[in-house]
Amino acid sequence: MLINFKYICLLTILISCFSNTLWGRTRIRTGHQDQDLYARVKHYVYQIKTATDAKSSKASYGTGFVVDKNGLVITNYHVVADALQDEDKNFKIFLVDGDKSIPARIVNISVIHDLALLKVKKKFKNALSISKKPPTQGETIYSIGLPKDLKMSIVKGIYNGVIKSSLYEQILMSSPINSGMSGGPTLNSNVQVVGINVSILLNSQNISFAIPAAHAGKLVKEYLKKGDPDLKNNVDKIIEAQLHNVEKNLMVDMKKNPGDNFTIGNWTFAPPSKSLKCWSQNIKHDKKTYEVTNQTCFLQDGSYVSDSIYSGSYEVQYRIVKNISRNSIQFFNLLRTLYNKGHAFSNAYLKYYDNELISKYDCNEKIVVNKHDIPIKINYCVNGFIKYSKLYRLYVKGVTILNRNDALIFNAKLDGFSKKSMIDFLKYQLSKIKLKNKK
């Protein structure tokens, strides 16, 4: 009935455990210059896989590239996440060099930027250097990786600059990268790394994202400063600290760029931040007995923790339901179904939680009157991340009704927020709901 725009613009991580041959094999025509590039890059780019042991088949795979001769390799965090999140630690990380699988270990991670630094016991002849200057817009760039577990491929693309609306910098590229290429380098024509392939936009053509190479540079610097700490047991704590950082940044962003007031019908409300992408949609029932106006706002960023959970992202939805020709019982019945079956905010969604990573939830309800004297009935559910303390997921929905024929339904979903942030968020949201012409 109502289309959720979230799915249209969902960023998907390029991780795949299955060989998907649906898209066919793309052939890249390589010119003379490109042949040269291929030969030069060949020894710096390897496949990274997670598997139970060196010989067994892979659980997930991606690409990594050498940044230091002494065996430092950069890849995406989501490529190796399986090995980290696995409870029994059965999965190990390997670098595939021809027929050999060389074991690797994680020495530094950045969940925010989806990066992981690996150390391999192998000396490389040379390493890729990180470009100090960002490329100019429109410059040709080359994304390298092993798409779909096939063979090293080069994808030519165009650099479109850094996306500014997002909280964390991302490079927007016009290039057809595929799953399996994540973690691979994006190079400029001087064979310097400008970015790391990370994701594509679902249901679109050739819209790809990369992480600016400077962040990878920072990771390497940090590692060289610290020496060689044993990350094995601390990984969870490091991730936890980073996730808390993400959440703090979000709250700062909400305070700095509060969203503008929106007015639909009789109601006025405000999304929490300007960084959110908002979609509005007006749906009239066939017979025009009622009218629903949706305003969905969501954050494009989010830190990948595992396939089932993201942290540091949130989504807000406002629905204004106006009665046209229904009687009050009909309208109330409609309101009830709309309130209870609100897509991502429905009960069904709550049930499919990942038992390994997320705790059981606790729910409650309350009627609240905000400072504009509007009573709002609120239901909420909270659950927490098991591995990372003091980070919670909150689902809230609220409803208020005016004169039996005009209702506002408010939905919000917060992933990876602390208790204080959740309450601050709700305080702000509730205080912003008011009537347009208050009598």
Partner: protein, 332 residues
């Protein structure tokens, strides 16, 4: 086939005699088919037979004769449930296989046993018209009626009919009470009554919910509305199965069963976790009735705080559980 229930004076429990072949002679002599050893009965007292108009009992020149409605008669036409005296013995006549106990009839939902076909036809027509009307009402309350809904309604009626047929059939087999002919119709009337109540309560519930601000009372109403149908059927089943023993026992057992089921339903209803996230009545209307003094947002933040501590506990429990499992696995 006829069943005779013969009562002696001052004795409550009757003698029951089935008669399958006719004519059948009644008297004190052992030559008779039904031997009644009582001083008021003659050696050859009466004979039961049938003709084109139905069954009758005829006096065979006895001393005390047959007394029907206070008068001594030569021939008495036998109807369902008719009573007459043979000598000083009271005789009740029941048609059909089953023994129709009076105490049983009292507990039937629709305690009507039909004597003619016309009533049955009227009742069935009534039943289906009520069902149709209810379905339309139900659909109208939820959505204004259009073509799609219309087909829906027809489907509701057809499926409702099938369900009722099956349930009533099962009911009558279970209860073994009725004369086969009448089984379905008595139960139809019972279901019609309860579907009426059920749909009315269920559809108007959201409207009532406007004015109910107390959570528990709302839950009770909702539960009763949702399960009254089921509760009543279980109550009936219970009464039927215990009917043979004594009425007191039935009342106690059925009552306690009712209470237990009601309680269980209520508990499961309130304990279902996911239900807390759905609508629970009490929508804030009229707006002016809620005042900030009593419903400050602070209350919400407090309960969120509590939930968070609860989630923390759940998390720690989960971690401990896993550690235990790990230890176990390591030992293995």
């Amino acid at each position: 086939m006829i069943t005779l229930k013969i009562f002696k004076q001052n004795i409550v429990t009757p003698t029951v005699q089935k008669i399958e072949t006719f004519p059948c002679r009644i008297g004190r002599s052992i030559k008779n088919r039904v031997v009644l050893d009582d001083p008021s009965i003659s050696i050859d007292h009466a004979i039961i037979n049938f003709d084109s108009e139905g069954y009758y009992i005829q006096d065979l020149g006895s001393t005390n004769g047959i007394i029907f409605e206070g008068e001594r008669k030569d021939i008495v036409r036998i109807n369902q449930n008719c009573t007459f005296y043979v000598g000083s013995l009271r005789v009740e006549i029941i048609f059909g296989e089953e023994i129709l106990d009076k105490t049983r009839i009292i507990h039937l939902p629709a305690s009507i046993v039909f004597h003619n076909q016309k009533k049955m036809i009227i009742l069935s027509v009534l039943y289906f018209s009520i069902l149709t009307l209810l379905s339309y009402l139900h659909e109208y309350l939820l959505n204004p009626i259009d073509k799609k809904n219309f087909l829906n309604i027809i489907w509701i009626i057809v499926s409702g009919f099938i369900v009722l047929l099956i349930t009533s059939g099962a009911f009558s087999i279970f209860s073994k009470i009725h004369v086969k002919k009448y089984r379905l119709f008595t139960f139809f009337s019972f279901f019609a009554l309860w579907s009426c109540i059920f749909i009315l309560i269920f559809d108007f519930l959201p409207y009532i919910a406007f004015y109910i601000n107390h959570k528990t009372s709302y839950t009770i109403i909702e539960t009763v509305a949702n399960y009254c149908f089921l509760l009543y059927s279980t109550y009936l089943l219970a009464t039927m199965s215990f009917i043979h023993t004594s009425r007191k026992k039935i009342a106690i057992v059925a009552g306690s069963l009712f209470c237990i089921i009601q309680g269980l339903l209520f508990i499961t209803d309130t304990l279902r976790e996911d239900d807390n996230f759905s609508y629970q009545g009490s929508l804030s209307y009229p707006i002016s009735s809620y005042k900030r003094v009593n419903y400050r947002p602070h209350g919400l933040y407090n309960i969120i705080d509590k939930s968070v501590t609860k989630v923390d506990k759940l998390r720690i429990d989960e971690i401990k559980k896993r550690e235990k499992e790990k230890k176990k696995n390591n030992k293995m």
